[in-house]
């Protein structure tokens, strides 16, 4: 059996098993854990093949799905998808693990939705057919909508609908682009469409390319989110139950970033280059705006939410530098952000569970009764602000380097965001964990054994990602290099076919050549 198919369908199998468990059954938790851990173990099997062929499709599955429309069920893994799939399969069991205490009712249904969500995510990260990609993209949306709406805070209904409608509005435009592109190219297969564009057998006029690009971009920009399409995020993050917030921030936001690098850059390089300045500026606005808003939030979860917007801006910036370093940094930052922000949200969930509130003013001096919790938070926070030797440093450094190659001003402005993040995060830490203990926080429990089990793998990963880059980077570099090459090739084709646009070539190719040096 194909290892990728196994990884994909284990969570779905778990979903069905949980669906048919009796409502009051206590066995939901172990069953969900077993299925998600099995998916994790199975996903480890993807590493070997992906390392040997990082720039190509490994562990591929390709069967006809809808004959009449030439839709293939085509999945595969390359150096980028590999780590995102592993990130998903690692974080879902942790999500299930923490749900046991952080979710109050209807546990089995929640676990079932988590597994369905995992099914959607793995599909998104491995789809090599545009139709299949869209299907999984939406499949991941529904369980998250139900988790936010079914288990969230007081305004959960509003938050869930806003989240769904926002995302849906973006994805229908992507669907239009997909259908248009497939009608033009005669296939939904990503590799075939790409090959057709690269060889010049299918040509898109620059207007067509621009609109198709914008269709995809809208869907991805909402999901990441890129400023000014982020307005669904704060309410969703703060109303969602802790395990759902954790997963939205840690993995769901990566769906958008992944889409940008996989589809927007490679399929529509011409339009991407044309829009790159705008998008980079929006990304930088997001970095600084997120940081500034994080400053003034009185609510712990919201601080992390806005800081998340800020750090996600780096990913987008890195992608639109069209530099090897920028793309590498963006992918690395996806992983690092997933782990560190995920850890912060879990710890925030534990704090909320203990105090029953998320207002920073309700905390203070937590480090005294709960030193373990404080230490874990400290590590995650330092990782998130980009302290060297911890995960995010590598990603943000590479992004800044790529940005400096592409346009030094970008790098300078983005670096401001790094500095700001250190300030607000340390301030947050100070107000929450240091100072005098209050009557409410004095009896805080420290992290228990079960809670450590959830946090420990994330701490290990933060250190590992930050210190030994070589374990992760080679397949990423190979894959992003391949993508950028394809993008460049496609760009040249477009330039050759559309003579008036030679100025684009003049602008871009020197930069690309420089990166190769």
């Amino acid at each position: 059996m194909n290892i990728l198919l196994l990884t994909l369908f284990l969570p779905l199998a778990g979903f069905f098993v949980l669906l048919f468990l009796p409502r009051q059954s206590k066995s939901g938790w172990p069953v969900a854990l077993i299925f998600s851990l099995a998916a994790f173990l199975s996903s480890l099997g993807l590493i070997g093949p992906a390392f040997s062929l990082p720039a190509q499709q490994s562990s591929a599955v390709d069967t006809m799905w809808v004959t009449n429309l030439n839709i293939h069920f085509h999945l595969a893994v390359d150096g980028i998808s590999l780590w995102l799939i592993l990130l998903t399969t690692l974080l879902i069991p942790i999500g299930i693990w923490i749900s046991d205490t952080l979710i109050k009712e209807r546990h089995n249904a929640f676990y079932a939705l988590l597994l369905l969500f995992e099914f959607g995510l793995i599909g998104v990260f491995s789809a090599y057919d545009l139709f299949v990609f869209y299907v999984f993209w939406e499949v991941a949306l529904v369980p998250m909508y139900l988790m936010v709406g079914g288990w969230g805070g007081a305004r959960r209904g509003y938050a869930a609908v806003k989240f769904f409608v926002y995302t849906m509005a973006g994805s229908v435009m992507m669907l239009t682009s997909i259908i248009y592109l497939a009608t033009k190219a005669g296939s939904f297969d990503y590799a075939q469409v790409l090959a057709a564009l690269n060889s010049g057998t299918v040509t898109l006029s620059s207007t067509e390319q621009l609109w198709l690009f914008l269709g995809f971009l809208l869907a991805f920009a909402i999901k990441v989110p890129i400023f000014p399409l982020h307005t669904w995020l704060p309410i969703t993050y703060s109303e969602a139950p802790a395990p759902a917030t954790f997963l939205i921030a840690a993995v769901m936001s990566k769906m958008g970033a992944y889409g940008l690098i996989r589809f927007c850059i490679a399929l529509f390089p011409n339009a991407a280059h044309k829009c790159a300045d705008w998008i980079a500026v929006l990304a930088i606005i997001g970095i600084i705006y997120g940081a500034l808003l994080a400053f003034v939030q009185p609510n712990l979860k919201r601080v992390i939410a806005y800081s998340s917007i800020s750090h996600l801006g780096f990913i987008v910036l890195g992608i639109f530098t069209f530099e090897q370093q920028g793309a590498d940094g963006a992918v690395y930052q996806m992983l690092a952000h997933g782990i560190s922000t995920g850890a912060l949200f879990i710890l925030a969930g534990y704090l909320e569970h203990r105090r029953g509130s998320m207002e920073i003013a309700d905390f203070g001096g937590v480090a005294t009764p709960a030193p373990g919790l404080a230490t874990a938070f400290m590590i995650a926070m330092l990782a998130s602000v980009g302290l060297p030797m911890l995960s995010n440093f590598v990603g943000e450094y590479l992004v800044l380097q790529g940005a400096a190659f592409a346009n030094f001003t970008w790098a300078a402005w983005a670096a401001v965001g790094v500095i700001l993040s250190v300030v607000y995060m340390l301030w947050l830490y100070q107000r929450t964990f240091l100072g005098k203990t209050t009557s409410d926080t004095v009896s805080f429990r420290d992290l228990g054994g079960r809670e450590w089990i959830a946090i420990a793998p994330l701490v290990v990963m933060m250190v590992w990602l930050g210190t030994y880059t070589q374990s992760f980077m080679p397949p990423v570099t190979a894959a992003t290099h391949h993508l950028l090459e394809q993008s460049k090739m496609n760009l040249e084709i477009q330039v050759r076919n559309a003579a008036p646009h030679t100025d684009v070539r003049a602008q871009v190719l020197p930069a690309v050549a420089e990166a190769g040096r």
Binding site: T67, F131, V142, Y145, T176, I179
Partner: protein
């Protein structure tokens, strides 16, 4: 020649489904008189048997395709599909009615025979190859549904629904009939193949303006039946007023049959004329999607909400018709199949929650359904997600197929605007899910009875069909493409 015309045996086989439905319908009415009050349920079961037998006959008739009775009807893949579809719709609605009528203490044979008679009309519409047959089929179907809409005669809303439906329906039929008269005057025939021959022959062709008027009059009559804008006014009141299983039937069966006729007339009869009404259909499709989706936003009655949403769905189907291609025809067929299943499923659950005399039909009345009956709520959520167009459901694939056809016909703006309205649709559909999953149970849940067995069959079958169409659309697609390619080629 007409004087000594003797039909072949095979021609009777081609209309066997209608004959069988007729026999069962009359049988039920006769047995009604001799069935004891407590045994009326058996008449419903008899109706089920009749529909299943008719379905089998429909498949059998397809083994001897061709025209019958001097070419007034055609049995081809297209007709077989639509006959099958309306029979499935009838089957699901009878299943749902079994429990509903028992709850209302209104079990009787005439209800079931009316459904069978209406199905006869829809079957005739699906197979008609001649405008007089279209008219006859439409009348048989409509008159039965007028009565069904007002079946609970003590209920004020039922009466209102029936009266509105009847008056506006008759008005629309008059347009259709007038159009048929024009057609006959212009071409000397009511046979679609003959009309096609005359219209596309440069020597015989009547003036374009006059042909246009004839086509427009027929179009108005049919657009009314499919509740397309600006002829959609009746739908919300009728859907709201009629009993839920009847609404489910009205929203799926007659609509499917009317679309079948629309395609048949305009692809076969006026085939060479199609480019002239493309801009008109374009605007009607867009208007229908916009009116349906935006009007639904403000509804608090769940049946009205579904009524407006079904107007919007008619708009999506019109997009595929506007595409005017084989892919478009296949998309219409697929959409109608998926739409029938999900819409019936949704209305059946609504009827179930509404309790006796349909007291609980506001959106808030669905609150807490997920806590009281998780399986029912999950199935309703499935129908809602399918109506929104979330992948792995029939509704998504149907939409995908429609807009694929539209883009292939270069209808870029219609696609963009149509899909944008479908994002708006997500907003009101989700109100249902929010109520079921995110609100605490209220008074309506205290009165909630367990699902009756008939209702359960209807809901589960609809859900299964929705999923199969969404995950394995290939079960239907080759047949649909084939039907589409055969349409208009005789």
């Amino acid at each position: 020649m007409i004087g000594n015309y003797v039909p072949h045996g095979v021609e009777y086989i081609r209309i066997l489904p209608e004959i069988l439905l007729c026999i069962f319908g009359i049988l039920i009415m006769v047995l009604e008189a001799v069935t004891a009050e407590g045994q009326k349920r058996m008449l419903g079961v008899l109706a089920l048997v009749g529909i299943v037998v008719a379905f089998a006959a429909n498949l059998y008739a397809y083994t001897v395709p061709g025209q019958a009775f001097q070419n007034v009807i055609t049995i081809d893949a297209f007709a077989t599909f639509f006959r099958g579809l309306v029979l499935v719709v009838g089957l699901l609605c009878v299943f749902a009615s079994l429990g509903y009528l028992r709850r209302q203490h209104a079990e009787s044979g005439e209800y079931y025979s009316l459904i069978l008679f209406s199905l006869i009309g829809q079957c005739i519409l699906s197979t008609a190859n001649e405008l007089i047959m279209v008219f006859i089929g439409l009348e048989i179907s409509s008159i039965a549904t007028y009565v069904l809409a007002g079946y609970f005669r003590d209920d004020r809303r039922n009466n209102e629904a029936a009266l509105k439906y009847f008056l506006l329906g008759s008005f629309a039929t008059a347009f259709l009939l007038y159009g048929i008269a024009w057609c006959y005057g212009l071409t000397g025939s009511t046979n679609l193949n003959e009309i096609h021959r005359v219209i596309s022959d440069p020597g015989l062709r009547p003036p374009v303006v006059l042909t246009g008027i004839a086509a427009a009059l027929i179009l108005i009559g049919l657009l009314f039946k499919v509740s397309a804008a600006p002829f959609q006014i009746w739908a919300p009141d009728v859907y709201q007023g009629a009993a839920s299983p009847v609404t489910a039937f009205l929203s799926a069966g007659p609509k499917a049959a009317a679309f079948a006729v629309l395609l048949r007339i305009f692809m076969t009869g006026f085939g060479s004329f199609s480019f002239r009404w493309a801009p008109l259909l374009w605007s009607i499709a867009l208007l229908t999607m916009i009116i349906g989706n935006f009007a639904a936003l403000t509804q608090s009655n769940v049946k009205r909400l579904m009524a407006y949403s079904s107007i919007a769905h008619a708009g999506y189907i019109l997009v595929a018709i506007t595409a005017d291609s084989q892919l478009g025809i296949a998309a219409v067929m697929f959409y109608l199949a998926a739409y029938a299943l999900m819409n019936i499923g949704a209305f059946v659950v609504i009827g179930h929650v509404a309790a006796k005399n349909e007291r609980y039909v506001r959106i808030e009345d669905l609150a807490g359904l997920a806590k009281r009956q998780p399986a029912t709520a999950a199935l309703f959520a499935l129908f809602v997600f399918s109506l929104i167009g979330v992948p792995l459901t029939g509704g998504f694939f149907a939409k995908f197929y429609v807009f694929r056809a539209a883009l292939e016909a270069h209808l870029v703006w219609l696609t963009v605007l149509g899909l944008a309205t479908s994002a708006v649709a997500a907003f009101y559909y989700l109100k249902i899910v929010v109520a079921m999953y995110m609100k605490e149970p209220g008074e309506s849940m205290a009165d909630l009875a367990p699902l009756s067995s008939g209702t359960r069959v209807a809901v589960w079958a609809a859900a299964l069909g929705t999923l199969i169409l969404g995950i394995f659309p290939s079960v239907l697609l080759p047949f649909l493409s084939y039907s589409a390619s055969m349409l208009g080629r005789q």
